[in-house]
Amino acid sequence: MPTAAVRLWASRHKALIILVPSLLLTAIFVYGFIGTSFFFSLTNWRTLAVDLSLRDPIWQTYADMMAMPRFQADLRNTVVFTVLFIALAIALGLFLAILLDRQFKGRSFFRSAFLFPYALSFIVTGVVWRWIFNPETGINLFFDMLGINRGLEALGMDPLSPGWTTDPEVILSINQALAALWPGGASFQIEWGIPVALIPVAIAATWQLSGFVMAMYLGGLASIEASVRDAARIDGAGEWRTYRSVIIPMLTPITISTAIILLHVSLKIFDLVFAMSGVGPGFATDVPAIFVFEMMFTAARYNLGTAASIVMLAASCLVIVPYLIHTFKSRE
């Protein structure tokens, strides 16, 4: 029989008692494992046989990794992919939402149709778009079928046959500018620019996620009252001006939350790229998650794989932590 004192203590600390299991689980399975991974990244462990002796100097695995052309390419690709993907997905999602925001027949059909790709697995998307962008059997055939290439040849130009995900070129390279700014810039082993092969991957990711962006914006648009539009109209704003100066600015909170959600998709992306193009020619489409996967499970370089995953975690924190701080502050 619990005594009165125990019962009193329990009733005072009800919240704590209820929280303890989840706190404990989070401590072990999230923070404990992050700590363990970080520890592994400092060790000599690079075979299947466990070796937990610390490396000397202790940060050497991180230094080796940063010097690897492959990892440099991964960081470049993450930045380029993130910018392309978020810009395209938000632009397309917003456009679809604005189209569907008006009353017309078949509206709900189109809403479902545009949202449908979001229900697919990234692996499925990756395989389908891999076929679409196959340079010999994919959309390049349309250039022949539609007579575009015949037209170009008639004009004395080369036929259009992009290599898509197999194109190793990096355009808009800023290496020279970097070298001018900073003496170390000349020693980069990779081209800092936009890998052409990454563009089709961003298109595939956009196709999958723009329906989700549309749904977010439709929710936002529904919350804007008709009187706001009426007021804008009375002030003489046309349709375009109403969206540009009134509606889209009012949707800013939605845009920010959507961008954050897309950002974490892009930082973690693995399955889409793995199925669609793999590491790509000259690592043109490699991403940190594939690097982690290969170092852990094919190379058995556990220290390097965990080091890369810690860098990925830090990259996410750079974005998520300010967002969380902002959210908590605005709630107070």
Partner: protein, 339 residues
């Protein structure tokens, strides 16, 4: 590592099974099974040594592949008035390649969506240029990765890369076999698992396709194998042992290898049951030096294999011979061998 192993798993001979699995103690000795089945007499001592630790075997080999074959589309070469004899030198190959290229045919097939396929061509060229002894020295620490031979091999390999089919990065290794069959390219440097694909497609030896050893590797057999182990702490050790017993049987190896495009790991299979190519492969196996493959893990540990794949991915696009050689030398050292 997690203490919950499968009963058995497929792996390759040499470094892969020895450094990854036997060394750290993940596998059981199969000595009693070898004695019961009489396998000590049926596998050659050279093979036994590659699956053993301190003289005790830990793996049953089921097949032997030869990795250094240059396959070619015979009708396509006849159409372009090219004749290929029993062997081909690099000079002859480059001459033919230029001739084909001028007629608009990609001389070399490649499907390196998985980069290891290009690794096979590199490895074959490395052996072809350096010779087997110096190649073995790379793994035993008697040949330096900075050696002039290596640079020569890289240069030759780089030259070969100029003749690939344009869509090589979009194809997997087996799709490149299809391309060879369709006449989209002429030669393919690939192991004889490609032979399995060729026969599945109904192609006939010496008629639809032909083969020569990869240039410079006439007296060498770059060996790729498949075999199975018994896990330490296997949940069903008896069932696993029985499975290994089956895999070592002559009838099983014979049937399996007819389909796989490889030869028996046992030395007593019936030669006459095999096709012309496989008979050729058997004879060549018996008369050449077998050396371990790095691409399939037998020559060096997994971390080096990954490093080689990464260096190749970079090299195929950037063609920086110096950086490629330097990376190999550095990674060999980091992996615990080389000079």
């Amino acid at each position: 590592m997690g203490g919950n192993p499968p009963d058995t798993w497929q792996t390759h001979h040499g470094a892969e099974v020895q450094t990854q699995y036997i060394g750290p103690g993940f596998t059981e000795s199969l000595h009693d099974l070898y004695v019961e089945e009489g396998w000590y007499e049926l596998f050659t001592p050279e093979l036994l040594q590659t699956v053993s630790h301190d003289g005790v075997p830990h793996m049953v080999l089921i097949n032997l592949h030869r990795s250094n074959i240059l396959w070619y589309n015979k009708p396509l070469l006849i159409e372009h008035a090219v004749r290929v004899g029993e062997t081909l030198s690099y000079d002859e190959l480059f001459e033919i390649a230029d001739h084909l290229q001028n007629s608009g045919v990609a001389a070399l097939c490649m499907g390196d969506a998985g980069i290891w396929a290009n690794g096979i061509m590199f490895e074959n060229t490395l052996v072809g240029v350096m010779g087997p002894e110096r190649y073995l020295g790379l793994w035993e620490g008697t040949t330096a990765f900075t050696d002039a031979d290596i640079r020569q091999a890289i240069t030759t390999y780089s030259r070969l890369l100029d003749y690939l089919n344009a869509d090589h990065a979009a194809l997997s290794w087996d799709q490149a076999v299809d391309k060879l069959l369709d006449g989209g390219c002429a030669f393919y440097s690939m192991g004889d698992w490609a032979y399995g694909e060729l026969t599945q497609a109904g192609m006939i030896d010496h008629e639809d396709f032909g083969w020569v050893p990869h240039p410079g590797t006439e007296n060498t057999n770059i060996l790729v194998t498949d075999g199975f182990t018994l896990a330490k702490g296997a949940p069903n050790p008896e069932a696993a042992r029985n499975m290994l017993r089956v895999m070592g049987q002559r009838a099983v190896q014979q049937e399996f290898n007819l389909l796989k495009g490889s030869i028996c790991a046992r030395s007593d299979c019936d030669r006459s049951a095999f096709s012309p190519y496989l008979q050729w492969a058997m004879d060549s196996y018996n008369t050449t030096v077998s050396i371990p493959t790095v691409v399939h893990g037998s020559a060096a540990p997994a971390d080096f294999r990954q490093a080689l794949n990464d260096a190749l991915t970079d090299f195929v696009v950037r063609r920086d011979e110096e950086a490629f050689a330097a990376t190999l030398a550095r990674e060999a050292k980091a992996s615990g061998f080389g000079q």
